[in-house]
């Protein structure tokens, strides 16, 4: 779907990144200044790399060896910039129309009405961008990009400028976007919570290089990836479906590893959900815990132990092939005599479960 290999030298910064991404949402994750935006700017053609190759959907857009550099306007890459970049002299309707105006006549894609409904911007159509909130601007920018009938959609930290409340307001629209369009999405972020909620593939960018890349679940359950994240953000993601809502309003989520009970989830039965389980929220025991307040206990096998000084990160293999990370003290590793292959029980505190559709 997307094949990227780039080498570019700036004063004081060198980019040497390559990755391949399947359909779905590919998250480019890394710290500020790690080179994420530079990578997508090269994909969009806004900068010309010294060396490199960019292939989208089988079309070569950049190939420095073959002297190919398709101009920006012919790439058909919808780019939602961090600062939205709506045209200030046009209304929201004018901005959305600008996307359609230069799209190839035969190209398939959602109608203006469908985009407006999906993003909930119907009430804004006659307003000028200066009168929109940050979240509204981001939604209009997404709509404008979608209406240009892109082969690939780039979202450069569309939520970075927003506060937590606005972010929570926009995330469902992005999930909707992922689930309702077939356009592959390249999503830049430095917030792992967003990535865990939206991405199917994770590309970790560090100091101008791709440190690791792979499927989201495997990547987040991998202790090597964890070393590149903030300590408190380390944790695996489990996918499941809502099996039903219990009488006490706990949602029963069926995952390959077993059922989990989650409070505060108001989803329809059989909705696909993701559960983000931070390593710090997982407790290990050799026997199933008795007389405990914890509701969610999954049988597991220790797959790997990564010492971190006084603590250790334990990778657990769950039934059904999924994996979990648990952070416990080195003393507990000793006391329980954990080693790869040890069967155990992972207790997941309900509060540690984070909702996220998909």
């Amino acid at each position: 779907m997307l094949d990227v290999a780039l080498r570019h030298r700036f004063p004081g910064f060198a980019l040497d990144a390559s990755f391949a991404a399947p359909a779905g949402v590919t998250a480019l994750f890394g710290r500020s200044g790690s080179g994420k935006t530079t990578i997508v700017n090269a994909v969009a053609g806004l900068i010309a790399p010294d060396h490199g190759r960019v292939v989208v959907d089988g079309r070569v857009l950049t190939d420095t060896a073959a002297g190919i550099a398709v101009p920006v306007r012919r790439r058909r890459i919808g780019y939602v910039f961090q600062d939205a970049r709506l045209f200030p002299h046009m209304t929201v309707r004018g901005n959305l129309g600008y996307g359609t105006r230069f799209a190839p006549p035969g190209a398939a894609g959602p109608s203006l009405e469908a985009v407006v409904a999906m993003l909930g911007i119907g009430a804004l159509l006659d307003r000028r961008p200066a009168l929109l909130s940050g979240g509204e601007r981001a939604r209009v920018a997404i709509g404008r990009a979608l209406l240009s009938r892109p082969r690939l959609l780039i979202l450069d930290e569309p939520l970075a400028a927003l506060d937590a409340a606005r972010r929570a307001e926009i995330l469902p629209y992005l999930e909707n976007l992922r689930d309702r369009t077939e356009v592959p999405i390249l999503y830049i972020s430095h917030a792992i919570a967003e990535v865990a909620r939206l991405a199917t593939t994770l590309v970790l960018v560090d100091a101008g290089r791709v440190a690791r890349a792979g499927g989201l679940e495997q990547m987040l359950a991998d202790p090597t990836t964890a070393a590149l994240l903030d300590r408190d953000e380390v944790g695996a993601v489990l996918t499941g479906r809502v099996a039903g809502i219990e009488p006490d309003r706990l949602a029963r989520i069926a995952t390959a590893a077993g059922d989990l009970l989650v409070p505060g989830l108001a989803a329809e039965p059989s909705t696909a959900v993701r559960l983000r389980i931070r390593a710090a929220e997982v407790i290990l025991s050799l026997t199933p815990p008795r007389d405990s307040s914890a509701l969610n206990v999954l049988p597991a096998t220790v797959a790997a132990i990564v010492p971190e000084g006084p603590t250790a990160l334990i990778q657990l293999r769950l039934p059904g092939g999924a994996a979990l990370l648990a952070r416990i003290t080195a003393r507990s590793v000793e006391a329980l005599r954990l080693e790869p292959g040890t069967p155990c029980h992972a207790t997941v505190k309900s509060a540690g479960l984070v909702q996220g559709g998909g």
Binding site: L46, V72, R76, R85, F87, L131, A145
Partner: protein
């Protein structure tokens, strides 16, 4: 309108006002395209000679107007290299004609025009043009749909300033095309002539008041338009 003014200003004064309006309009209209190109080159261009072009455009602002007029006479006069060629090739004569007054006014007003346009162009965020390109717009379409609408008030402001400056141009005009009533006698030249004749104080005062009025209207209009640029780019 000019018929009524003729009684108040006297026949020479009315003719001078009419000529000045014609000269200023032609000078402004004719220099707009070149002004736009220079403003674009100075605002966006990265080329060898950028500083030289900047200096050349601003030269008439610094130079004594009589020197600008002399240079025009030497180059664009009937025996000047460019002037002679223009006369032979196109039959265009500048020296001692109203067209020469328009040329002198255009040259003198050019720095003001380019400056206003350049500021407006520099206020446009080039990243908006990048955004338009990712949406599939060609360079020409980006210019027409994004750049131009955003700088339009600046272009108008530049044109208004150039018009006002052209109305008041004196030094280079009188040097290049002299002061022939009905042919090259613009408003400032008419004031100068009236000043030389005793008993014309009333005519001088009226012509001077007219000049002040034109200048004030143009400055207020230019100020209002440049505010519009800022407001438009901010999207209010």
């Amino acid at each position: 309108m000019l018929g009524g003014a003729a009684g108040w200003l006297g026949p020479d004064g009315a003719a001078a006002l009419a000529l000045s309006l014609k000269v200023a309009l032609v000078a402004t209209a004719a220099s707009l395209p070149l002004g736009m190109i220079c403003a674009l080159a100075l605002a966006r261009g990265r080329f060898w000679g950028h500083g030289l072009l900047n200096g050349l455009v601003h030269l008439p602002l610094i130079l004594p107007p009589v020197v600008t007029g002399y240079l025009l006479l030497v180059t664009m006069g009937r025996r000047g290299p460019i002037g002679a060629w223009l006369e032979q090739t196109f039959g265009i004569v500048f020296a001692f004609r109203w067209t020469g007054a328009a040329l002198a006014a255009a040259v003198m007003a050019f720095p003001l025009m380019v400056r206003a346009m350049r500021l407006a162009i520099e206020a446009v965020d080039p990243r908006l043009e990048d955004a338009a390109a990712t949406l599939g717009a060609s360079r020409a379409a980006v210019f027409a749909t994004v750049t131009l609408p955003l700088v339009l008030p600046g272009i108008i402001a530049g044109a208004v300033l150039a018009f006002a400056k052209s109305m008041g141009e004196f030094g280079a005009t009188i040097t290049f095309v002299s002061n022939i009533p009905g042919q090259t006698q613009t408003l400032p030249s008419a004031i100068y002539t009236a000043l030389q004749v005793p008993g014309q104080e009333g005519a001088v005062a009226r012509l001077a008041a007219l000049s002040i009025a034109v200048a004030m209207v143009a400055l207020v209009a230019a100020e209002w338009l440049s505010r519009r640029v800022a407001a438009r780019i901010a999207g209010r």
